[in-house]
Symmetry: C2
Subunit: 144 residues, 2 copies
């Protein structure tokens, strides 16, 4: 029910330093301290950390995340802003996913290319492997 900073550090894959830094930046306004001044994280705090991970992982800055947390703390008057923020984040995320698909194609091509060159040398590679040639042209256009 209550976790030390070290336990949370392990669970979330963040250093204790980073957790304190996040708190200092206003990202963890709900974390309590016990009588001795040690932080005690609740399950709810872990939920916030997962949300922070999600937003950070989809390209939001800590400042943007803090904005959301501030809105949350302001209460119901900011519901629309918060919804809007997630909608924007979803658009960005979809773009990002599309970009990664493209990158994956390019990397797959590179892997196929290097496999081919390592196996049979560079000479005559396009005649030998028309599929690779097609992939190359799909990705790079005429040039390369």
């Amino acid at each position: 029910m209550g976790y030390s900073i070290g336990q949370v550090s392990k669970k979330m894959g963040l250093t204790a330093h980073t957790l304190r830094y996040y708190e200092k930046e206003g990202l963890l306004p709900f974390v309590k301290k016990n009588g001795a001044g040690l932080r005690v994280f609740s399950d709810n705090d872990l939920g916030w950390l997962e949300l922070i991970e999600c937003l950070k992982g989809t390209g939001m800055t800590l400042k943007g995340i803090k904005q959301y947390i501030d809105w949350f703390q302001e209460g119901d008057s900011t519901l629309k802003q918060r919804l809007e923020m997630f909608k924007e984040q979803k658009v960005k995320l979809k773009e990002q996913m599309a970009r990664l698909e493209k990158y994956m194609e390019r990397i797959d091509y590179k892997i196929a290319y290097y496999n081919e060159v390592i196996a049979h040398g560079e000479k005559g590679i396009w005649d030998r492997n028309p599929g690779l040639k097609a992939a190359r042209e799909r990705i790079y256009g005429k040039r390369g």
Copy 2:
């Protein structure tokens, strides 16, 4: 056949400053200069910039990208390293894509949640909308 730094800047969405910075860091070893000392980018250079974008976009640092370019310039003796690098990058990219799918679920949930709260208030939300409740439990587990 030859592009100025300004043209490349527009084409690639990078500032001229950034392009010069990349060159200084050893990421564009093939860019030529004309008699007046102005950079002249070729189509091949644009290809390199696209690869840089791809590797950067899949989480590689500029230092890592430079490593690849150095290997490339060393010639055939580094073919295996280069293949290995792309294979590793592919693994990371797959992980990243899986992470983004998770994040998308969470964001979709948040959007559904805020839509519901804005439309009908927070009271009785779980009874009113069992699908939302199920989504919530799928994403957050027991807590929230």
